[in-house]
């Protein structure tokens, strides 16, 4: 068949008008709003607290942000499918404990143990994805169940005891400082974020994940193996949760069953804060890696700044909740404003 292709005369995205439009669009975007917020709060904390800009604080802020961003990215990869992964925390802890077990009980060298832990995380994610695809049930209920199962089995197998004999090489990495205040963990996180951005923009697999998440029926009828794409998304989520857990291990020098709270629930809030602040309202098919990174960073900075403002550790959680609420309200308002002006 050849319907003779005619040389293109369509208005191309490279034309001047479009570039201008996209610049306006960026200034109205969620990411830009987050950058403003981060700058504003950084200024506020720098002025009103004494230690905010201290070398130690910047270092530990970066290290915490590295973990929180990674957890947010782990959730983001599943939100892409229009689903969610309540088991991020449980998978993360399982990966960390798996790594500790390989290291301490089997006596494997630490790079192998880390790879093993990450593989376990990816594998558990794949189990989630496989079940979501096979049963056709919403990932909420599947991952709610598996969060309980994974965590329960892990506690049963480890007798709830921590692994603490980690080699110097690993723990040093967690404490290492580059240029006196930069944690290599943060660099690792940025590298992963860049890789994800590349995945979604410039690879077939990433595009297929987005298409499958936006409209599975249409994606399947267009030749995408939707089931495989969704399983991959969950696997990726498990892998990233594993990386986040490894970061915590290097920081703490131990793999502790309670590192993410009961059933890993403590990770849920940071996991959702990043992507939701980053502008994904959990609808699937759209992704903003930059937004997630900025969102998670903002949250980390706020928690640290609030603590320095003597707000009291226990109230920080309330502020984070309020923050989430205000953020989604603002985003909603921004969207309807854009929709009214036909910009979105």
């Amino acid at each position: 068949m050849s319907v003779a292709p005619v040389p293109s005369a369509l208005p191309e995205s490279s034309s001047d008008g479009f570039a201008r439009l996209s610049r306006t669009r960026f200034l109205l975007s969620n990411e830009f709003g987050l950058i403003l917020l981060i700058a504003a709060f950084a200024l506020l904390f720098a002025v009103y607290t004494s230690g905010f800009l201290s070398v130690f604080n910047l270092f530990s802020l970066g290290r915490n942000a590295a973990v929180n961003i990674m957890i947010g990215l782990a959730m983001m990869t599943v939100i892409v499918t229009g689903g969610l992964n309540l088991a991020v925390g449980a998978i993360g802890v399982c990966a960390a404990m798996g790594c500790g077990w390989l290291l301490q009980i089997l006596g494997l060298p630490w790079p192998v143990a880390i790879l093993g832990g990450l593989a376990l995380g990816a594998g558990l994610g794949a189990v989630n994805g496989w079940m979501v695809v096979r049963t056709g049930l919403h990932s909420f209920i599947i991952t709610l169940a598996t969060m309980s199962i994974f965590f329960g089995v892990m506690i049963f197998l480890t007798r709830a005891e921590a692994f603490r004999d980690f080699p110097e090489a690993m723990t040093a990495f967690g404490k290492m400082r580059l240029l006196t205040y930069l944690s290599p963990l943060l660099l690792l996180t940025f590298a992963v974020a860049l890789a994800l951005a590349w995945l979604y923009r410039f690879t077939v697999t990433g595009r297929e994940m987005l298409a499958a998440g936006a409209n599975p029926a249409a994606a399947e009828l267009s030749g995408i193996r939707v089931g495989r794409a969704i399983i991959l998304c969950h696997m990726l989520s498990g892998l990233l949760a594993g990386i986040a857990a490894m970061m915590l291990v290097t920081r703490n020098g131990a793999a502790i069953p309670s590192m993410a709270g009961q059933l890993g629930q403590d990770w849920l809030l940071p996991a959702f804060l990043g992507p939701v602040l980053g502008g994904t309202l959990l609808q699937g098919g759209k992704v903003s890696v930059l937004g997630t990174v900025l969102g998670a960073f903002l949250v980390t900075m706020l928690s640290s700044g609030l603590l320095m403002l003597q707000v009291g550790a226990f109230w920080v959680q309330t502020f984070l909740g309020l923050m989430l609420l205000v953020a989604v309200l603002l985003d909603k308002a921004r969207r309807s404003w854009l929709a009214r002006r036909n910009l979105a």
Binding site: L84, M131, T135, G136, L137, H138, F140, I141, I142, L144, A145, T146, M147, S148, I149, F151, G152, V153, I155, F156, A160, Q262, L263, Q265, L268, L269, F272, V276, L281, L282, G312, F314, W315, V316, Q317, T318, F319, L320, G321, L322, L324, L325, V328, L329, K332
Partner: protein, 319 residues
């Protein structure tokens, strides 16, 4: 035969059968299972867990979810204990106060979901964090110990034989909830909105008000559960409610609730709670690792949603 077919279509038949089989099996393996002491422990667990399950069930009925069930329960629990210890309020006043807190928190969820149009998941995740944060901010993670004797006595008293007094509020709530969902317009509206909110609006039902009412009821039920836990533990623990999330979904789902909304069953949810309690108790009885309870809960949820799916879509073809 047709009678059996009809029975098997009801939501409570399967769970009831499972309950009876479980009791018979466990009793045959361990004669201790139906001892008065064991039954009392079972009933105490059921008393609280049923309320937690109902709190989620009413939200499942409108096709949403409420992640903040535990946080509301915890906040109500420490409000109850704190009002008595710090303000010296008499128990009935403290109780009213705690229940109002629960009602208010729930209504707040409903209002936020309604006016923002944002998914219940995100909203209740945010309020979960807010309520839990307030709880920790007030208590600084330290329990309230000043629980009056009367409350402690209520928490430990038995009505007849092994039946604890704590079960009485739960049974009352069960009956009221059953009646509401079956016979009261408000209950029917909740189910109608969960089944098809567009059609419900066309039939003159105020969808917004119904959603808010459902969330308020959910908050109230979580608060009652929180108060009962205080009475049972005899202290106001800030950590009350932390482990309710899985349980709150497990029982309604075992009871055949459809997560998309429009269909829940009070009796079947109650039986779901009973099943969970029996299995938990059996694990303890056979001195199996209590950590495995989590695993069993998770497996139960998966099995139940799988079964519900099969029941709903037995006719559809495909691969």
């Amino acid at each position: 035969m047709t009678n059996l077919a009809r029975l098997s279509r009801t939501d409570w038949f399967g769970p009831l059968l499972a309950t009876i089989l479980a009791v018979l099996l466990i009793q045959s393996l361990s004669a201790n299972f139906l001892s008065a002491y064991n039954i009392q422990i079972l009933l105490l667990a059921i008393a609280v867990n049923a309320l937690v399950a109902y709190s989620q069930m009413i939200i499942i009925a409108i096709g949403q979810m409420n992640l903040s069930v535990g946080a509301i329960g915890g906040l109500a629990a420490i409000s109850f204990a704190g009002a008595m210890e710090v303000w010296g309020l008499p128990a009935p006043l403290a109780l009213t106060f705690a229940l109002l807190i629960g009602l208010g928190c729930g209504a707040l969820n409903g209002v936020l979901i309604r006016i923002t149009g944002i998914s219940a998941f995100v909203i209740t995740l945010a309020t979960l964090s807010i309520f839990k944060g307030i709880n920790l901010g007030i208590t600084e993670a330290q329990p309230f110990y000043g629980i009056p004797e009367g409350v402690k006595r209520f928490g430990g008293a038995v009505l007849v034989g092994p039946v604890p007094w704590l079960l009485v509020p739960t049974l009352l709530v069960t009956a009221i909830l059953w009646f509401t969902l079956r016979r009261l317009p408000v209950g029917r509206f909740i189910l109608a909105v969960g089944s098809n909110d567009h059609a419900a609006g066309l039939s003159g039902i105020s969808v917004g008000r119904t959603v808010i009412i459902a969330h308020a009821i959910s908050g109230l039920l979580a608060a009652i559960a929180g108060v009962l836990v205080v009475a049972r533990l005899q202290i106001g623990q800030p950590s009350i409610g932390d482990d309710w999330l899985i349980l709150s979904f497990a029982a309604p789902v075992i009871g055949g609730a459809i997560l998309a909304g429009g269909h829940v069953s009070t009796t079947a949810t109650f039986l779901g709670v009973v099943i969970v309690a029996i299995i938990t108790q059996a694990l303890v009885l056979f001195s199996i690792d209590p950590f495995l309870v989590q695993v069993v809960l998770g497996v139960l949820i998966l099995a139940a949603v799988g079964l519900n799916k099969l029941r709903a879509g037995a006719a559809t073809g495909g691969r």
